[in-house]
């Protein structure tokens, strides 16, 4: 940190000059001292006090306090004020040893006022710089903390993304394995779909936001694989009502869909229709995903990672916990996702 805070850098010399000229003027006009006496007196006074302030700032910046900022500044300010006053007195007495007796009497008489003025100036500057220094220390600490939180956040987001894939991948590979024996041409088709899906997952991994239309394509790729695995039991009905430039963070909508499929498809044996309703309301993108659901048949692991992970992700991205909502009737399960669009 610079010795003098940048706000004080211009203020201090200016102040010194003002005080110096005021003092000189005062001594010359009101006290009726000679011009050279007035100039010498005020210059010495100003020189000493400047030295004192400089020394004081060194001390304030070099030594941390244990007694609390204000008390510390006050003590140091007082000490330097006394030192400065005493030095000024000694020097002036030495300079005007012989010539003007009248001046020396007046000097003694004015000392209390000088001490008091010094004390005011020193205490003020000491307090100010000590507080500024304290604030800077706190800010530094805070920034460091913030860095750590960010790092941690990144790591957590990464981990949440990673959790989405493996079982899906293994099951798909198993299906391909079956197809190579039963229907080789379909196997090739499936490999194409899976590669498409994986390529999309990889390319969007680093992105912070993606186009909603792109996300829907990605989901489509995912669904086409699921429909090979589960036959044509799966139907998705979309209601799309949004700006084509709408962007959303990746890995938010897809896991919600995955969850809906897990609930709907893995939990029921017949045909399953999942409806996706996307609309824009004020600065929010609202996505409603509804899937059939059997009240008596909670999926064994469904509620576990799926929605909790999404909730956590939304919190990490927007610092809000109210962006994911679920409601259920006896036959339907609805997930409502609100994605703030303010960053657009």
């Amino acid at each position: 940190m610079a010795l003098i805070n940048k706000h004080l850098r211009w203020l201090l010399p200016l102040l010194a000059f003002i005080i110096w000229s005021l003092q000189a003027g005062y001594l010359f006009y009101y006290e009726g001292l000679g011009l050279n006496v007035a100039l010498i007196d005020s210059s010495v006074n100003m020189g000493i006090i400047s030295l004192a302030i400089w020394g004081m700032l060194l001390v304030v910046n070099a030594y941390p306090t244990r007694v609390g900022v204000t008390l510390y500044a006050l003590l140091i300010g007082t000490f330097f004020a006394i030192a400065a006053g005493f030095t000024t007195w000694m020097i002036l007495k030495f300079i005007f040893k012989n010539p003007v007796h009248h001046y020396l009497d007046w000097l003694s008489y004015s000392m209390p006022v000088r001490y008091f003025a010094n004390w005011l100036i020193c205490s003020w500057i000491a307090t100010y710089s000590a507080i500024v220094k304290e604030a800077e220390t706190i800010e530094k600490k805070f920034l460091k903390q913030n860095d750590l939180t960010n790092l941690h956040r990144e790591a957590e987001l990464y981990k949440l993304r990673q959790q989405l894939q493996p079982h899906f991948l293994y099951n798909s590979l198993n299906s391909i394995s079956a197809l190579t024996m039963i229907e080789p041409s379909k196997a090739q088709d499936m490999i194409g779909k899976l590669s498409d899906f994986l390529r999309r997952s990889v390319t969007r991994d680093g992105q912070e936001r993606i186009l909603l239309t792109e996300e829907l394509e990605y989901i489509e790729a995912y669904l086409s694989i699921e429909s090979v695995r589960f036959g044509d039991r799966l139907k998705i009905v979309y209601t799309k009502n949004f700006d084509s430039k709408t962007e959303i963070p990746p890995f938010i909508l897809q896991p919600v869909m995955e969850n809906a499929i897990k609930f709907g498809l893995y939990g029921n044996t017949g045909e399953v229709t999942i409806s996706v309703d996307i609309s824009q309301k004020d600065s929010m993108l609202i996505v409603n995903v509804t899937n059939p659901y059997d009240k008596d048949n909670h999926p064994s692991r469904g509620t576990g990672f799926g929605l909790e992970g999404i909730k956590r992700r939304l919190y990490l991205l927007f610092t809000r916990t109210d962006l994911l909502d679920v409601s259920k009737t006896d036959t339907e399960f609805t997930t409502t996702l609100s994605i703030p669009q303010t960053y657009a």
Binding site: L173, N174, N297
Partner: protein
């Protein structure tokens, strides 16, 4: 001829097992099932020697289905989840095949079963308990009720009582007996929500209305359903820690 049933919710996964089985000529696939419930019925009907069983399935999952069977066939698990493997072996499964399944690995599993079948005639899977099988806690308990399969969500449980070799699970719709022990149930349920307050009782915290002193060192818990459950001294300590007194 050994009878085989394939239970998996993915048609392609079933077809893969079927295709792999073609080489093993002394096996006959008597049924293919898409969920645990169908599997349960098929096993009772055909009494197979060996089943290929997926874990995650609609209605009843693989472990729940096994739990309901009195006569358990030999089991080879087929799943993409490796986290069940340990528990599956503890439950004495013949083998545990991870998807995608390699032909070589599959043949090995079948040979392994043949070897054990030769020496043992039929190798039954041992008594299996939900609580010991899953990672994490159960959200439901499966019981047989007059030949019907009933799935009781953990939220519906009013209390569980030990009853000789059985446990009695009391819900607002009635009570069900299940061949199990209270310790096993205790392990399978989330201890944040269920507390074993007595040697013979487990109660859900959400049911608790109040606790009254009763004789020296013991208490009585009054539940929402009106039941009065004895609370032992150690049960009281557990309640206190769970409730954070």
């Amino acid at each position: 001829m050994h009878k085989v049933i394939i239970i998996d919710d993915e048609p392609l996964a079933r077809q893969l097992v079927r295709a792999f089985m073609q080489q093993h000529t002394d096996f006959e696939i008597v049924a293919e099932c898409g969920d645990g419930f169908e599997g349960f019925k098929a096993i009772q009907e055909h009494a197979p020697d060996l089943i290929f069983l997926d874990v995650q399935m609609p209605k009843l999952n693989g472990f729940e289905m096994l739990e309901l069977l009195d006569e358990k066939p030999s089991v080879i698990f087929t799943t993409a989840f490796d986290e069940y493997a340990m528990k599956a072996f503890e439950a004495n499964a013949v083998d545990y095949l991870l998807k995608p399944i390699a032909k070589e690995r599959f043949d090995k599993a079948v040979t392994k079963w043949q070897a054990s079948a030769a020496s043992q005639q039929k190798r039954g899977i041992e008594q299996l308990q939900v609580g010991n099988v899953y990672e994490g806690y159960q959200h439901r308990i499966v019981v047989k009720d007059n030949g019907l399969i009933r799935i009781i969500p953990a939220d519906d449980i009013e209390f569980v009582e030990a009853n000789d070799d059985y446990i009695k699970i009391v819900t607002k719709d009635g009570s069900y007996l299940k061949k199990s022990t209270l310790s096993q149930v205790e392990q399978s349920l989330n201890p944040q929500h269920f507390v074993r307050v007595h040697r013979s009782y487990i109660i859900p915290i959400s049911q608790l209305v109040r606790i009254e002193p009763y004789e020296k060192e013991s208490h009585i818990a009054l539940l929402q359903c009106g039941a009065k459950i004895p609370v032992s001294k150690s049960g009281m300590t557990k309640l206190k820690t769970t409730l954070g007194w």
